[in-house]
Amino acid sequence: MAISELTMPSSRLTTERRGAIATVTLGAANEQLARRLTDLDDDASIHVIVIDGAQTTGAVPGGAAAAVAMLVTPSIAAIVGECLDERLELSLASDVRVASRAARFGMRQVADGRLPRQGGTQRLTHAVGRAHALRLLLTSDVIGADEALRIGLVQAVVPASRLATAVAALAERIASAAPIAAAYAKEAVAAGSDLTLAQGLALEHDLGVLLHSTDDRAEGLRAFAERRAAAYRGR
């Protein structure tokens, strides 16, 4: 995605790094988002990218969801408060979504005579199925966190006070895996949903064979045999 698509003025995009986990906080609309995400994606020491909605204010810049969806690195959306319209589209571009119990979800563009423009009609349908997607899109209903969990829109719901801890724990679990294997698993799942089953199985198999060439695969097997934690290096 061209950075020029992000036309809103730059303001508070912050990135916090802790070990192999980068947390991106979207402030107001930010023209550097795509570049920042690409840089993090290219950084072999970053194994997980958290898109933290906690501090998010203002409009989501155009192209933001596409930038998140394009990440090779696994991503988590931390959702608090109102996750509506473009913000829901942005969170749908992440791999796993964790929400606070107070979060509310809706895709209400149609009520304003508009359509979602950041993949909302597609990724919402993929996440919750056609009937729930159409219900949300056509009624502009806003739903709570428990219903979002039930229909598969988010993967976990925790009290607001525990959101940061829950997201950090999830990120740690993903970060402790072999990064190339995680990226391949993500690629196989993402590409596979657009392929026939036979094609998807062939892709999975070929990525598995390609993974044989990595040091991390050998390290994972050694560590298992020696009953110790693996030390992955992303190679």
């Binding site: 796993v96 993967q155 196989a188 999975e204 070929d206 598995g208 064979v209 695969r217 097997l221 560590a223």
Partner: protein
């Protein structure tokens, strides 16, 4: 008595009972088990007296603990590993099975074990069952449909739930597995095989032709655009006969 080293095979009233049998290794999926399963699945497919199949695991500890990691890295080369896999593709054989299949799961159901269960049509688990995909945390990727069949099963087409299992490697119990759509039934500990047999008996009250056509329509239709899938359903229905509007 079974003719296979790692699998007990029996038939009873038209149902094949396939029991993974390496209880000392929680039925870990080995090269020998792959070869045995390839022959067993061919038998199930070709034996006209067999109408459906149940998979289970021997021993107290579980259904299948996943691939036998002790054998990893023993192939002479990556090219040979790939060729052998394509020649003896047990997973493709199971995916293409026309007869109804049920996984009867207890205890550990991890990695390849979960992939085997996912390739069955129905999954019955005892309440002590534990599910997980540990491959990525071991520096591997699932290789028997874990990135393809599992998301199709629990993802509602999306990927969040599948990623939650694949990327974290976390284990989930029977109740959560039921909630995310992985299971058909949960039954009391020890009842899983009996419950699977009862479920399959109910399935087999329908004629084989209709069962095979329904499976083909669902599985084949999932790979097609809706219009083409509806045409497939229509052709299969017409081939079965019966009243038409």
């Amino acid at each position: 008595m079974s003719a296979f080293e790692t699998i007990d095979y029996a038939t009873e009233n038209g149902v094949a009972l396939v029991t993974l049998s390496r209880p000392e290794a929680v039925n870990a999926f080995s090269v020998q088990m792959r070869d045995d399963l390839y022959e067993v699945l061919s038998l199930v497919r070709d034996d006209s007296a067999v109408r459906g199949v149940i998979f289970s695991g021997a021993g107290e500890r579980g259904f299948c603990s996943g691939a036998d990691l002790a054998e990893f890295g023993t192939a002479p080369s990556q090219a040979i590993a790939r060729r052998v896999r394509r020649q003896r593709d047990v997973w493709a054989l199971l995916a293409a099975m026309r007869k109804p299949s049920v996984a009867a799961i207890h205890g550990y159901c991890l990695g390849s074990g979960l992939e085997l269960a996912c390739l069955c049509d129905l999954r019955v688990a005892s309440e002590d069952a534990v599910f997980g995909m540990p491959e990525v945390s071991l520096g591997l990727v699932p290789a028997a449909g874990g990135t393809q069949v599992l998301p199709r099963l629990i993802g509602l087409g999306g990927t969040g739930r599948a990623h939650d299992l694949l990327l974290t490697g976390r284990r989930v119990g029977a109740t959560e597995a039921m909630e995310i759509g992985l299971l058909t039934r949960i039954v009391p500990r020890g009842d899983h095989v009996k419950a699977a047999a009862s479920l399959l008996r109910g399935v087999l009250t329908a004629p084989d032709g209709a069962l095979h056509a329904a499976k083909r329509a669902v599985v084949g239709g999932a790979d097609l655009p809706l219009g083409a899938a509806l045409d497939l359903e229509d052709r299969l229905a017409m081939a079965l006969g019966g009243p038409r509007a």
